[in-house]
């Protein structure tokens, strides 16, 4: 039913979405933590920067990332001096771009969860001899699990559906940067609507099943 290139694109998409989500858990959580708790005057500006990918059209964001990661851009200069070479047209280039693009989808639900939790449970833990790091992992994280689940789902789904940025950074190389959304786009643009429908249906059904599983696994998400 699906061609080899379609399967390859789906596999690549899943790998990209999983990698991006895992990296964002690590990178986004400290920023969400800081945003939820700081009283610094930088909270506003930093929060706004985090939300910016929501504002920029994906192809525009992709274009700026292409420039930044290019040989004359700051990121490109850095990666070249580190001996990594240039990121565009590589899988890791897509990962970096997706991390940027999905940033608010990870940070905001986690930040909201941390804010809803408030100071009190952490204070209680402090009076029970828990160090700051200890409090974070044994109190803040368990109490914010629904927020983490939402963030993970949104980030994963958003990366699966991501297209504009990937198109710009990826260069459409089969098996390296040609993800399912790009493949569907190619089919549509080439007027091969049958292939497009088939792949889109697979993507939709798969995503539906993943989301359904997650929502049934966490009953507290259904309530909210």
């Amino acid at each position: 039913m699906l061609s080899d290139t379609d399967l390859q694109a789906i596999g690549l998409t899943l790998r990209l979405a999983t990698t991006t989500t895992l990296i964002l858990f690590v990178v986004g959580t400290p920023i969400a933590w800081w945003l939820a708790r700081t009283r610094s005057r930088w909270k506003g500006p930093i929060g706004a920067v985090v939300a910016l990918p929501l504002v920029l059209p994906p192809t525009v964001l992709g274009f700026y990332l292409l420039v930044a990661m290019g040989p004359n851009g700051p990121v490109g200069q850095l990666t070249q001096s580190l001996g990594i070479g240039l990121l565009p047209f590589t899988f890791w280039g897509l990962v970096v771009a997706s991390v940027f693009y999905s940033f608010p989808f990870m940070v905001q639900p986690v930040q909201n969860a941390f804010e809803a939790m408030g100071e009190r449970p952490l204070e209680a833990a402090a009076t029970l001899r828990a160090s700051p790091l200890d409090r974070f992992f044994t109190v803040a994280v368990p109490l914010s699990l629904p927020g983490f689940a939402t963030a993970g789902i949104l980030t994963f789904a958003h990366t699966v559906g991501e297209f504009g940025v990937v198109l710009m950074i990826g260069g459409n190389i089969p098996g390296v940067t040609r993800v399912a959304s790009v493949q569907i786009y190619d089919y549509v643009e080439a007027l091969e609507y049958g292939n497009a429908h088939r792949l889109a249906a697979v993507l939709l059904v798969f995503s539906f099943l993943v989301l359904l599983a997650l929502y049934s696994w966490r009953p507290d998400l259904r309530k909210t």
């Binding site: 204070e123 402090a126 009076t127 001899r129 828990a130 160090s131 044994t138």
Partner: protein, 377 residues
């Protein structure tokens, strides 16, 4: 200065400034017994408690406990390294853990710290000692049947008892309690007060207890700090403060004193107990206390009347000789508060100015007081 730092007890010289509120306190709290921080909401009592716990990073000044510096210009001991137990107003149990999980949370960490600090010593004795302390706390607060439950499945009173046991399970050297009864209705309060009294009797560590309820203070405190608008208005032994004529105004209807005594005799026929206190005897309703038990009784100013002669033919059981110490203003211009000395203990009486005038009350005068109601606490 040096002396006050190394003196046993809590030394708190603190300043916190927020928009519209300043806490400015320089106090020494005693090293044993229950110290009540009393005042209206907004008086700064909770803030002071949080400063002692290290929960207010913005506070400047000095906090010392039994000579250990917890905070000064150079030192900041974070909350998790202060040997305190803290009971929050709304219990603040961890909803993701069972009751036992909550109790073990602090206990386990205390244990780990003790092992790290003294690696050479016998760990087994530490463990067993701690087990005992947790079991002791569970028993003291009567929560043994709740251990497997989640906090969401507990009543308000049960939650608060678990909160107290959790604070005790870290084997604190200082127990801080922030209005542990304020969020509870009257019935739940009555359920918990006996446990608090047991704590009072069984613990040999100092307790700082924040409250705005005169009845709790009267029942539990040994030492009283009255706060208003971020400052300490008065501080000292409970009865000394309660009988001060310039302060009871704040208590209004609750003005009165608390006396400590001992149950001396049980009258089975009339269901009464005789309590010996201030070289006299007071008859109170039998509440089941055993002869010889320590008894605390509360006498409200409005329940005392004054006569120049010992009266007979009244329904009042308790009549005692007293000497007038001074007269002061009360909350209403028609009323006056009279401070009396009953065999060395101060007692307050509330009269109308007119009665005081007609009796010709002056300091030094010998009178008889009739006590209409005595509450055995």
């Amino acid at each position: 200065m040096r002396d006050s730092v190394s003196k046993p007890g809590i030394r708190a010289r603190l300043r916190v400034e927020w928009p519209g509120f300043t806490l400015d306190v320089d106090e020494h709290l005693p090293p044993r017994g229950v110290t009540a921080l009393f005042g209206h909401s907004g008086s700064g009592k909770t803030t002071l408690l949080r400063c002692i716990a290290g929960l207010e990073r913005k506070a400047t000044g000095q906090v010392c406990f039994n000579g250990e510096v917890w905070q000064d210009e150079r030192t900041w001991v974070p909350t998790h390294r202060r040997p305190i137990g803290y009971v929050f107003q709304e219990a603040s149990l961890f909803p993701h853990l069972t009751v036992l999980g909550n109790l073990r949370y602090g206990q386990r960490r205390t244990l780990a710290k003790a092992e790290n600090q003294r690696p050479g010593e016998n760990k087994l004795s530490e463990v067993s000692e701690d087990k005992f302390s947790l079991e002791h706390a569970i028993e003291l607060l009567g929560i043994g049947h709740l251990l497997e439950r989640r906090p969401a499945a507990l009543s308000g009173g049960e939650r608060q008892r678990v909160g107290m046991a959790r604070a005790l399970a870290v084997r604190p050297r200082l127990l801080l309690m922030d209005e542990p009864l304020a969020a509870l209705d009257l019935a739940r309060k009555q359920e918990i007060l006996p446990y608090l009294e047991r704590l009072h009797d069984h613990l040999d560590i100092p307790v700082v207890y924040v409250s705005h309820a005169p009845d709790e203070v009267a029942r539990l405190a040994d030492h009283l700090v009255v706060m208003d608008e971020g400052r300490v208005q008065a501080s000292g032994p409970l009865n000394e403060i309660l009988s001060r004529l310039d302060l009871p105004i704040r208590l209004g209807e609750d003005a009165g004193v608390v006396l400590d005594g001992q149950v001396a005799e049980r009258d089975e026929r009339w269901h009464l107990l005789r309590v010996a206190c201030c070289s006299a005897s007071l008859w109170v309703r039998d509440n089941g206390a055993a002869v010889g038990d320590h008894a605390r009784i509360r006498i409200l100013a409005r329940d005392i009347s004054i006569a120049r002669e010992p009266k007979t033919g009244t329904s009042i059981l308790n009549t005692l000789p007293a000497r007038v110490v001074s007269l002061g203003e009360d909350s209403h211009p028609a009323l006056t508060l009279v401070k009396l000395d009953v065999a060395g203990s101060p007692v307050l009486a509330r009269l109308t100015r007119r009665s005081a005038e007609e009796l010709g009350l002056t300091p030094g005068m010998d009178v008889w007081i009739q006590i209409k109601a005595v509450a055995l606490l």
